[in-house]
């Protein structure tokens, strides 16, 4: 998940120049890569966010989940533990 969502890859300036299309197309909207020069970060390229996206019906999606509300509540407790 980390690599898909938030991990910022590093590419050299040369690689960035030569494979611009392939590299930038592989990024999700909003995702960024670090461009290095001489081994040091020279800049960050960020793909523009998508303006409009079809919103899923979150409620309908979660209603199909095959577990109980009690289990979900316990999972929420794990999140709460991060704040304690």
């Amino acid at each position: 998940m980390l690599d898909k969502v938030s991990y910022m890859r590093k590419v050299s300036a040369r690689e960035f120049q030569h494979h611009f299309g392939k590299l930038t197309e592989s990024l999700k909207p909003g995702q960024a890569i670090e461009v290095t020069k001489g081994g040091r970060v020279h800049g960050i390229y960020r793909r523009a966010a998508q303006a409009s996206v079809k919103r899923p019906n979150f409620l309908e999606v979660s209603e199909r989940h095959a577990y109980s509300e009690t289990v979900a509540a316990r999972l929420l407790k794990r999140l709460d533990e991060a704040f304690s």
Binding site: M1, L2, K4, V5, S6, K28, P29, G30, Q31, A32, I44, R46, A49, Q50, S52, V53, K54, R55, P56, N57, F58, L59, V61, S62, E63, H65, A66, Y67, S68, E69, V71, A72, A73, R74, L75, L76, R78, L79, D80, E81, A82, F83, S84
Partner: protein, 144 residues
Amino acid sequence: MKPFLDAGLLAILLLKAPGRRKAWELVQRFEAPYYLTHLHVLLIEHMFLHAKGEKERQAALIAEADWTRHWDEGVFQLELVDALAVSNLALDLNRRSSLHSAKPLHYLLVASAAASQSTHFLAFDPRTRYLAKLTGLKVLPQAL
């Protein structure tokens, strides 16, 4: 209008959890995509990874599949917030807040909302709601 989803509300939205209908009603007021920060990713992944026992792990796997698909479809998009701005806002909030039950992560979440120029803060947690009001964000739902 740009909403910022509190981590708890986001988790409720992803799970078959109590309060999901209310969370869904709130989110529907805003168009997708929904911008999330690295802090959201950390907290949601932490919840999935720290599931205890078979039932929780099964539920986490199901929810994680949806979470991943929403990213793939661009429903959630990563917002890079200025770390220095977030830190300064969090420090400021901590000094101004009189809510002793708020923890550093609560400050960081609300500071991220402010630093990302969000207009609305969607939350069920009284602690982040209080802090969001301090920063001048419009808090939804208006009452718990």
